[in-house]
């Protein structure tokens, strides 16, 4: 009995530290999930027309934050192209803190899976969306509520195992 209690406390303490090693600090749960998309008044990247929240599609869509200076976005791009060709989901882009010519050049090189792009030159919309590591992708429903956020490149696994089931769940709820 004498040795038991300190031992239990010791093991308990070590267990906390041990599990602490595996806590994922890179991926931070967004406080915006379940909230409405913030309002914005920006322009469309290609045409320069005004773009705001009312012009977004009235269905579930992906909101993908990208930039031409972002290397991971190139890796993600072929997956986004696949998703666009799948025609289940529209993708709206947010071109984040980028030069217009660079962004348009990037799209002409790698192809354009986006319905259109919101041009966020100052990064204010990115700030409102809590963007800290491009690429980031939001799943938004037809009421403009953010349902999920994916930090880093969208992979085939994320698309098949997370996004598609999520869409089915949202559709069932309606």
């Amino acid at each position: 009995m004498k040795i038991k209690i300190p031992l239990i406390i010791f093991i308990f303490f070590i267990a906390i530290l041990f599990f602490g090693l595996f806590i994922e600090t890179k991926v931070i749960q967004s406080p915006l999930i379940g909230k409405k998309l913030p309002n914005y008044e920006l322009v469309e990247l290609n045409t320069g027309y005004k773009s705001d929240i009312h012009m977004l599609p009235n269905e579930i869509f992906l909101l993908n934050v990208w930039a031409s200076w972002c290397l991971e976005c190139i890796r993600e791009h072929s997956m986004l192209t696949n998703i666009a060709e799948d025609k289940k989901l529209k993708i709206i882009g947010i071109n984040y803190k980028d030069e217009k010519d660079d962004a348009l050049g990037w799209l002409s090189i790698y192809g354009n899976p986006y319905v259109y792009n919101i041009y966020d030159y100052t990064g204010q919309l990115g700030l409102d969306l809590g963007v800290y590591g491009v690429p980031e992708t939001f799943l938004v429903d037809k009421n403009r509520i953010i349902r999920a956020k994916y930090i880093g490149a969208i992979t085939n696994d994320i698309y098949r195992q997370k996004i598609i089931p999520m869409i089915e769940k949202i559709n069932e709820d309606n």
């Binding site: 300190p6 600090t25 931070i28 803190k97 969306l129």
Partner: protein, 124 residues
């Protein structure tokens, strides 16, 4: 003669207003410098935005500057940041059920240890 008089009036007015303005600027600067050390740079997570030169840190600094100049207080700025980037962005996270163990854990631990030693000394 009138011009000189006006100049003197202007000078008196300036000497009254100037300390008020500079005191205001001074408190704003203090708030700004305090806030940027309390906000975490999300890109380089072990630095605050005062230390970091990451583009996001620069953006957040200028956002803090903007809000301070608008006359916003500390709570407003902290809320603005945590609404977008979660409590993780604050180096001093607010008390909430989720981090309850962080706040009371050490005290609980101290209590348990001291209780144990107290019991042991009683037995002796």
């Amino acid at each position: 003669m009138k011009i000189i008089k006006n100049f003197i009036y202007f000078g008196i007015l300036l000497s009254i207003v100037q300390p008020v303005i500079s005191a205001d600027i001074e408190t704003k600067n203090i708030l700004y410098n305090q806030m940027i050390t309390e906000i975490r740079c999300m890109v380089c997570q072990n630095q605050n935005i005062a230390e970091s030169e990451a583009p996001l840190a620069i953006d957040l600094r200028s956002k803090v500057r903007e809000m301070v100049d608008e006359g916003r207080d500390e709570d407003y700025i902290k809320k603005y940041m945590s609404e977008r980037y979660s409590d993780f962005i604050l180096y001093d996270p607010p008390f909430s059920p989720r981090n309850l163990i962080l706040w009371i854990g050490p005290f609980l631990f101290l209590f348990m240890i001291s209780y144990y030693f107290f019991r042991r000394s009683l037995k002796k």
